[in-house]
Assembly symmetry: C2
Homo-oligomer: 442 residues x 2
């Protein structure tokens, strides 16, 4: 009988290993052929692997003896002498001895992915995502995104949160029936979850503190630079809070942790993208009405909608706090009750406003959160006051009927957070395969 006993380390030298090895050394490495440049006497082959790019050099005579010529788009495994070469990007190169062709492309690449900065429209990049992301700078954005997600889970695990997986198909949505994708589920009408809101709340009654990182679906008819119809939401919900301030404190703690985490684990990607990370050591907080007043005064903009922030106002609020306090994040608190869902807790001192907040980051809202109503009577009263029905909410209300701790939480749009960190113009730059009103493929 044969057994599988775990990972067998292969004799393949990764990029980082090649940069550390004592020279000269005989090594074997592998990768995709990123570019081939024929200089006459020598041919330069740039190999791309998950760790980056590395230069392989082949003397012309050697090149002639190769059974099959190496060309762009191939996957290869090469043997050779690792040696110092001051002019090579890492100060080292591999002098090719043998090459094994692992895979051969059918067609030459239609995009010059070996350019430092990919020269293509967003539309073209998205249409050829599998290809455009082979450009190291393009793919670096998604490594940074991974870092933001890992840091979120890592930080929350340390704070005693438990990860949950809640259903994406349901009988009714978290925030009413609008903007939901509908489907037929074995002859029953069903919808896709707009958020894990109800589930994470009732799970706060089980684990005290929970989080989820997963897709959410919004059938909003907004085709803007900051809307996606499917996105990844970083959600948490925490029990036993004394106020919604604790939710903001936890988010601030996450952001502090994430920035350090990126520096520690993703410095190469930060460098490649020339990213300057924002300070998150202290984040100003300002009331909704006060924020409106401040920007209206400073920038001479009249307040048109007293109940909500227009995108331009969000930009101005961020500008204000950057100019006045050097802050790139700002919490805007106490949103009007009218504009928040029924489960938002009203401010007992002024019930026209809620104990809730948005986090603005460089002019864009990246988080919505707040304290929730935990008292059954208060919750059912609010539902009735809004003229809503309890139908479809039974499982949610049951958790409250049998007792729930005071709690609050938030949802962070991962793509928006990434977009703002990257300084991208369009949220689609921060989504591997975006879904918008017109885009259902790739």
């Amino acid at each position: 009988m044969e057994f599988v006993e775990g990972i067998n380390k292969k004799e393949i030298c990764g990029l980082k290993e090649m940069l550390q090895k004592e020279l000269p050394a005989s090594v074997q490495t592998e990768g995709a052929v990123h570019s081939v440049r024929d200089m006459g006497d020598v041919i330069f082959i740039i190999l791309r692997s998950r760790e980056g790019l590395f230069q392989v050099v082949c003397e012309n005579e050697q090149w002639e003896t190769l059974p099959e010529k190496i060309r762009e788009g191939m996957a290869v495994r090469v043997n050779g002498q690792l040696r110092e070469e001051k002019r090579a990007p890492h100060g080292r190169e591999l002098a090719l001895k043998q090459a094994e062709i692992l895979s051969v492309p059918e067609t030459p690449l239609p995009l010059a992915i070996d350019k430092w900065k990919l020269s293509a429209s967003l539309e073209a990049k998205l249409n050829m995502r599998a290809l455009s992301l082979r450009n190291p700078r393009e793919r670096a954005a998604f490594r940074v995104q991974e870092g933001l997600t890992r840091a979120f889970r890592d930080f929350l695990n340390r704070q005693g949160f438990t990860e949950i997986h809640t259903p994406k198909i349901g009988a009714r949505g978290a925030e009413g029936g609008a903007n939901m994708f509908r489907l037929e589920y074995f002859h029953q009408p069903a919808v896709l979850a707009q958020s894990p809101q109800f589930y994470k709340q009732i799970m706060a009654g089980v684990f005290d503190r929970v989080f989820e990182t997963g897709p959410v679906f919004r059938a909003e008819k907004h085709n803007t630079k900051r809307h996606l119809n499917e996105y990844t939401s970083l959600d948490f919900e925490m029990g036993y809070i004394d106020g919604f301030e604790e939710v903001m404190e936890t988010e601030t703690g996450y952001l502090q942790y994430a920035m350090e985490f990126l520096k520690e684990h993703y410095q190469e990607e930060l460098d490649r993208l020339s990213l300057k990370l924002p300070a998150a050591d202290r984040i100003p907080r300002v009331r909704f009405t006060e924020a409106k007043r401040l920007v209206s005064e400073k920038y001479g903009r009249s307040i048109r909608n007293p109940h909500d922030l227009e995108p331009e106002e969000e930009q101005l609020i961020s500008r204000y706090f950057l100019e006045e306090y050097g802050a790139e994040f700002v919490f805007v608190t106490h949103y009007p009750s009218k504009k928040r869902p029924f489960y938002a807790m009203d401010d007992p001192e002024d019930p026209r406003y809620t104990l809730s907040f948005d986090l603005l980051f460089r002019g864009v809202e990246v988080t919505t959160g707040g304290q929730r109503i935990h008292d059954y009577k208060a919750l059912t009263r609010k539902i009735a006051d809004r003229g809503m029905t309890e139908e479809g909410l039974e499982f949610y209300l049951d958790a409250f009927r049998y007792g729930m701790p005071p709690h609050g939480g938030l949802g962070i749009g991962l793509e928006r957070l990434t977009m703002q960190l990257l300084g991208a113009e369009n949220v689609r730059e921060a989504c591997l395969f975006p879904r918008d009103m017109n885009r259902l493929t790739p």
Copy 2:
């Protein structure tokens, strides 16, 4: 201006902290009132928090002075003297001095969640999920599930994998059009992803090694103890493999890592559930046809379907390897080409079979994986041979047209893996809010 500066440590003593504190100590703690037992002179209050249960004791005289009587389902914050008490579960208890009621339930609990083992049917437990999971033993299962997921990501990150998020709404499914949930997407027909198969493959051309942990959707009309119509899939895909054995090696490495990870971080939950973890140090591998023959011979069962394994055969194969080798996992390899998707790589030595495998764990298939075709011509030929159309597969095929490394991967059903680890009878025990043909709520 006010600022949020991160987490302010509250003066709340968690369970673990209470168990370590020098005695006697004056502490404040909080939790849900799990049970109240009035013994005449004293009242025992068991508090439930994310860390477990703790006994609070209240003298009758003290009890009479409380402004509101503590009862089950409340959330409370209590002050008192922490002291030794040999008869208490942890050898310690808190003598109550003051209590603050944070939340009051509307109705007494309809389930005796304070029993060691919850006495309720699966149906009742699922219908009252928000409540039944407040039983510490019930919720422990999902802590173990968290551990399996964390270990998956942690292990793969260490192995150089990058986490990706792929769309769940798409124009066409990964494995043909059958068993897909359909929806309307802004007047276009769309489907929910059955798996991230195509996306993870093309991303192996970008990051070499990728993984995803997310929901998948299968409209299969199977209402069995091991089927869910929405579940969490742990997927990975790795490039530059020399054979599908490397995929099995990586899974074995994961399982080894996961078992150690559970022991290190979830021992309390393992104890609570009396779980015995399976050995994963070496996992036998057996060819599909050989496995069929072995169980047919040993257990006298005739081979009815030579192209697939029936559930009973999977059980017998597991039984065989447990009896013969003491193994609780077994890789069954070389499934018939007919029963594998078009992208599966056929065995060059016998193209009736594929370079693929399933992992059986205690009688149930928990993983399907294998090597994929990476050559464009071979892939399009297979599509043509099967009488399939390339329509809708353009974005997938493009990645191959421009060159893909040899690669393979797998998908693990998280709920099935959890179910088998728990020794549960039904996969629904291992899903917070299961979706099956009849269940769309809670």
